[in-house]
């Protein structure tokens, strides 16, 4: 048995209820749907981690007790329907502009918990200006960033985060650095900006990493709630369909290849040091 789940790390404490059973022990539910996650089945492809990340976010909202206090901003990308999946107030932003929309919300309502959920096309291609400036201004928002190295929704075109050599519908011969450049590493890029309070990357490829992701997410949320600055957690996520791989192979590909270009870890953590405004 490896890494047994424990309730501090993502169990849904509030929701655990005793279940009657015939013998001397009760069955207690230790893992179930977070309250902040709606009942609606996801529209994602089999094995897509968008669903996983949604669940983790909902767990966090439950854990922090923020369901009544949250405004979430959805991207345009496969997660465009994310507003159907969370039980919090939700806004559908235009493609790439979630950080600007979040700025509008957070400035208007400084005591709400405001998060954006963004894909790599959304955040690192069309929305580059908005994320950089939100970070530079130190907006007190939390960014959940899904890097799957592709434009999933529009049918698998190259993203700025696609690996060199990756075949996509707009790079059928494989991504060529001479004409399309090298993958943009968002964490590395943002780390020079002083408004950033927390920045981390993790691959959503195993229960262990999922736990690590929870730890990072907590900090990224605290970066907002403790008024330190912008927090962002980048997850390396599979797109089995557009990568043309089985879900299992897609996770292996991340662990074998993607992490080489996108090393996981914490890049900025201003919570660790003295909290400053």
């Amino acid at each position: 048995m490896t890494t047994a789940m424990n309730s501090q790390d993502g169990m849904n404490k509030q929701n655990g209820g005793a279940v009657a059973s015939e013998d001397l022990v009760d069955l207690k539910c230790v893992f179930e749907r977070p309250k902040s996650l709606s009942d609606k089945p996801f529209h994602y492809c089999p094995g897509c981690s968008h669903g996983t990340y949604h669940r983790l976010i909902a767990e966090m909202i439950d854990e922090f007790g923020f369901m009544d206090n949250t405004v979430g901003i959805c991207p345009v990308g496969c997660a465009v329907f994310a507003y159907e999946y969370f039980e919090t107030d939700m806004i559908e932003a235009s493609h790439g502009r979630a950080p600007a929309v979040a700025t509008g919300v957070k400035r208007a309502l400084p005591d709400r918990f405001v998060f954006t959920y963004q894909g790599d096309g959304d955040l690192a291609s069309i929305g580059m200006g908005e994320i950089i400036h939100a970070a530079a201004r130190g907006e007190r928002i939390t960014v959940f960033f899904v890097n799957n190295g592709i434009f999933g929704m529009t049918g698998g075109q190259m993203a700025p985060t696609s690996l060199i050599g990756q075949r996509t519908t707009t790079s059928v011969q494989g991504r060529d650095p001479r004409t399309t450049g090298h993958p943009i590493k968002v964490c590395e890029l943002l780390s020079s900006l002083e408004g950033v309070a927390y920045l981390a990357r993790v691959a959503l490829t195993s229960p262990k990493n999922i736990n690590t992701c929870r730890k990072y997410m907590r900090k990224a949320i605290r970066a907002q709630t403790e008024d330190v600055g912008l927090g962002l957690v980048e997850v390396l996520s599979p797109c089995p369909v557009q990568w043309g791989m089985s879900p299992g192979d897609a996770l292996h590909h991340i662990e074998e290849d993607v992490v080489k270009e996108f090393p996981p870890g914490e890049f900025v953590d201003k919570l660790a040091g003295p909290v400053k405004a």
Partner: protein
């Protein structure tokens, strides 16, 4: 001649290909044709359908209100599109995987065991679409079988003669699949 057809099924059942084969065959004959797929956010999985219009004349609308023919390769498609058949029109149902019957009794309905025939004739149910095309051909006959065979050869050219032959076989089997007209029994 103006022939408006909906072909519908699960994504993966090759309904888009069925439609393309019809349109390609029409082109071979110099008949006008349009092929229009449903495109939506349900990109992956789910149902797929396409509309094919064939005409001797310039084709205006690539869609219609009612259709001469509806081919339903699965149950959701039958439920979604059976109402679209013109009274007196034709409804083909893939009996292999559609357990229900149509409720329409004002249309000519044919139940074809497309998957089973494909499996027995070609060893795989992947040719069920071409079997169904054969069945369609046998009941509507708007195009020459020849042209469809040419279209099959053209479409599977890159996949080699074996695949072409298998599909030609499926087509032939489909053409022989319907013996008698069945009208719907509700």
């Amino acid at each position: 001649m103006l022939e408006e057809t909906i072909l519908a099924g699960f994504g993966g059942q090759g309904v888009l290909m069925m439609g393309k084969l019809l349109a390609q065959a029409a082109m071979e004959e110099g008949t006008s044709a349009t092929w229009l797929p449903s495109y939506g956010p349900e990109m992956r999985g789910g149902t797929a359908n396409c509309i094919v219009v064939l005409s001797d004349d310039e084709i205006g609308s690539p869609v219609s209100e009612k259709y001469d023919t509806v081919v339903a390769m699965n149950q959701p498609s039958l439920q979604k599109f059976e109402s679209k058949v013109r009274p007196g029109g034709t409804l083909l149902i893939n009996k292999s995987i559609v357990p229900i019957k149509t409720s329409r009794n004002d249309v000519n309905t044919y139940y074809v065991e497309a998957n089973d025939i494909a499996e027995s004739e070609c060893g795989t149910n992947r040719s069920a679409n071409v079997v169904m095309l054969g069945a369609l051909q046998s009941v509507r006959q708007k195009l020459k079988p020849d042209s469809i065979e040419k279209a099959i050869a053209h479409a599977f050219e890159s996949k080699g003669q074996n695949v072409i032959d298998a599909n030609l076989k499926a087509f032939a089997a489909g053409m022989n699949a319907i013996d008698a007209r069945e009208t719907a029994t509700p």
